[in-house]
């Protein structure tokens, strides 16, 4: 963060390289949640860093990694994320508001947790699920399609979708509880 708030543009530009090296992994993994596509993540992040260079004021009082992620998402990433699918809106049956909520939502309870905290919370929550529910989520996380999961669990595609939906809502409740406890 050193030199990032300097008034001189060239000094700020020099300060960007160590900042990018330090934060790239954190930011790109965070963006991946919303886009699920490496190429799009890199394109968005490139503009996010350039925006930070242009106007770094928001980062002046940042003290922790969590605060940094939150600030960067709210003031830099979110704006760029909204732009990714904005042009599609005229061809969609989805209101602008819903599109924004889907692609660049407000920060929820879980969004403010770091990657390691989330892994821990998810691990605990998975442990509390019923065997069948846990299996469905684990298979999903292994990259299997719904049809393949249905074959594995010896049930129908519709039943797997329902099971997944209910399990995800359960996970949300459990992870939010964990987050409040922390």
């Amino acid at each position: 963060m050193k030199g990032l708030n300097a008034p001189d543009v060239d000094r700020r530009r020099r300060a960007m390289e160590p900042f990018v090296r330090e934060t790239f992994g954190i930011f790109i993994r965070y963006l991946y949640r919303y886009l699920g596509n490496e190429v799009e993540c890199e394109d968005v992040l490139e503009d996010v860093y350039a925006d930070i260079w242009e106007n770094p004021d928001r980062l002046r009082d940042v003290e922790s990694e969590r605060q940094l992620l939150r600030t960067v998402y709210l003031y830099y990433m979110r704006k760029r994320l909204r732009e990714v699918y904005k042009r599609m809106n005229r061809h969609l049956y989805l209101s602008q508001n819903d599109l924004t909520n889907l692609t660049a939502p407000e920060l929820g309870v879980l969004d403010t947790m770091s990657q390691s905290e989330l892994k821990q919370a998810l691990g605990r929550a998975l442990g509390r699920l019923k065997a069948r529910e846990r299996r469905a989520i684990e298979l999903w996380l292994q990259g299997m399609s719904v049809r393949a999961i249905a074959n594995e669990l010896k049930t129908t595609v519709g039943a797997v979708k329902m099971l997944k939906f209910r399990t995800i809502l359960k996970l949300k409740e459990m992870m939010s509880e964990y987050c409040h406890d922390q």
């Binding site: 992994g25 992040l45 989805l94 990259g143 719904v146």
Partner: protein, 112 residues
Amino acid sequence: MADMNRKIQELLSDYAGALRDGCLPIFLQSLTRQEGKELTSSRDFWEAAEVVRVLNGVGFADKAAIADAGLFASRVDANIASRLKKAKSSPRAKHTNGTRSMTKTRKAEKPI
């Protein structure tokens, strides 16, 4: 006529699949008017969508082919250089067509 619109659990499953496979635009385009309305009114969908994004980040971000930070830093530097160049080449781009606001024109006029 049979109702071909997907139910909320199917929409969530398709959203999760699209996010995992990195093809969200295809999911967005696949939505019908009725499904769009269904999404708007379903609180459960939005709650579940938050977890789906978390699962996507926790489960798949580490496996994604992420570029080298050093190489990416030079890409950012090129973007900054291009912004600097743009800023230097058109400092008063707003007035290139000769139009000015009335207030500014009045200010520029010398008092007699």
